[in-house]
Amino acid sequence: MGIDRRCAQGVEGSMKMNIDDRLALVKYKVDNRPHIILKDDKVCDTCEGKYCVHVCPASCYRIENNRVIFHYEDCVECGSCLISCDKKNIDWNYPRAPYGVTFKFG
């Protein structure tokens, strides 16, 4: 487990949950093609802030072997990464219908 998984760990006697368990509560219909794409890996490699990793509430951006790796499957379509990446390196869209997240409560 690298530094990317800075998520809270499930601890006995604590209500903290790791992000994967939290996301397991969310209903998705996963498209077979991503709705968000990193435009240029090289831009991410030299990006100091790596803001996307900080702001994504679904941990879709993870650092693996010093590289930002993006997984679209768990995306809750919040828009935070698009807004935070000032290198404009994220080609962002909503998933095409009927794919993506469905909230039961919201």
Partner: protein, 433 residues
């Protein structure tokens, strides 16, 4: 009522108005437009209205009451909000200003708690009853243009023509951006909101919050919940559930050492929150961006044949300590639709006719933002988040532990420079409130 397609899969005739986004802003616009006889189409990308939407928990009722004077009868109301708290929190203590009004039990003036999956779906049903056509599971990809002007929408291979288009596609309005009505989003003007909902029983909610079934509580909590970053935590009560969440400025968060996924988990562990949710089963985790730049970020509201409403126009009146997005979204949707109805009467959908929308927004909504002009100073002031929550709690602790110590000694706790800042902030704060 129109059907989107006839048997041959060809679009039926032109709509008077096409509304992109079936949230509170778009659906309110649809209700007003359809009631006035406009041939109205709403396109919502979610499986049903509300299925993609997230909020903290309370809806204020001014516009809702205008639309439906007896909304209480069938709106999905969880609890009226009768108690409001503003809390300053540090790691081990908190200080609250707690206001309760028993009158709010019946009149819903202070709003009610609900879930978006239920509320938006209810509003969509009302829009259908009014005669609007609602197509769900349709994502609009771009706008259709004719002679350089907006003339409808494009979704996949389908084109739909409309005399007017209302963009109600929420905080990340890709369409307003691609039309040049909104610039590239600035992280200073947005927060990310993250929320978890917990299941209890109605009795347990009452017991833990010290309320009856006729009451509901809103608690906005500053300091510890966001790691002292700009933003705040919130707690709302539902009939037999509780929501706990945080809203953090994206500018503050992205440049901090913190991660969105951790912040809410640490807030949940605070003893105050634990007293409220311990043992409760978590039912959902959700998140959404929230525009919070106030006046500064309001986009171009109209063009020939097109208007922007709600979050898409950046209209949340969120001063960080007071969230009111849905009500303002509904109000802007209502005004835009009224302007559309007038335009339809005149058969003139030009920028000039639609400019009434901006004028009315200025008179009826933006005035509230202007009154809050000092609020951004107050709320963008980092001391509000990283200093006062700790300060207030330390003062309380010292006052209690140190009985006997003269008051001056306490005042002297505040260093010279801070004293002036404190006075300045207090004055500005009073003005802003």
């Amino acid at each position: 009522m129109n059907d989107i397609r006839n048997e041959d899969g060809i679009m039926s005739d032109e709509f008077d108005v096409i509304i992109v986004g079936g949230g509170p802003a778009g659906l309110t616009a649809a209700i007003v437009a359809a009631r006035n006889g406009l041939n109205t189409l709403v396109l919502e990308r979610g499986e049903y209205s509300g299925s993609k939407n997230v909020f903290g928990g309370v809806i204020y009722t001014n516009t809702l009451r205008k639309l439906f004077p007896d909304f209480q009868k069938d709106a999905p109301i969880e609890r009226p909000i009768t108690r409001r708290r503003l809390t300053f929190m540090d790691e081990k203590s908190y200080f609250s200003v707690d206001y309760k009004n028993y009158g709010f039990r019946d009149n819903f003036i202070n709003g009610f708690s609900t879930f978006r999956s239920k509320f938006d779906a209810w509003l969509a049903k009302k829009a259908e009853d009014a005669g609007a056509l609602i197509a769900t599971g349709v994502k609009v990809d771009s706008l259709l243009h004719k002679d350089g002007k907006v003339s409808g929408v494009i979704s996949g291979n389908d084109q739909m023509e409309g005399k007017m288009v209302i963009l109600a596609d929420g905080a990340v309005s890709l369409l307003a951006m691609s039309e040049g009505m909104k610039g590239w989003p600035d992280p200073n003007n947005y927060g990310v909101g993250i929320k978890e909902v917990f299941q209890l029983t109605e009795e347990e909610v009452n017991k833990r919050f010290g309320i009856t079934s006729k009451d509901g509580i809103e608690d906005l909590i500053i300091g510890y919940p966001t790691k002292y970053l700009r933003g705040g935590g919130f707690i709302y009560t539902f009939r037999d559930m509780v929501s706990v969440g945080v809203i953090v400025s994206l500018e503050a968060l992205r440049k901090s050492e913190h991660y969105a996924i951790d912040i809410i988990e640490d807030f949940k562990e605070h003893p105050m929150v634990q007293d409220l949710i311990s043992g409760a089963q978590i039912k959902e985790y959700s998140a959404h961006a929230i525009p919070e730049g106030g006046l500064r970020m309001i986009s171009k509201l109209y063009r020939d044949n097109v208007m922007v409403v709600g979050d898409a126009a950046g209209l949340v009146n969120s001063s960080g300590i007071y969230l009111n997005g849905v009500e303002i979204a509904m109000k802007s949707g209502m005004i835009a639709a009224e302007v559309a109805v007038e335009a339809n009467k005149k058969k003139d959908y030009s920028e000039k006719t639609l400019s009434v929308y901006e004028r009315r927004m200025n008179d009826e909504i933006l005035i509230e933002f202007r009154n809050l002009k000092d609020a951004p100073y107050f709320l963008e002031n980092p001391r509000m988040y990283n200093y006062y929550p700790k300060f207030v709690n330390q003062m309380m602790e010292k006052m209690i532990i140190s009985d006997g110590i003269p008051k001056e000694a306490l005042i002297n706790m505040i260093k010279g420079k801070e004293k002036w800042e404190l006075i300045e902030d207090a004055l500005r704060g009073l003005k802003a409130l």
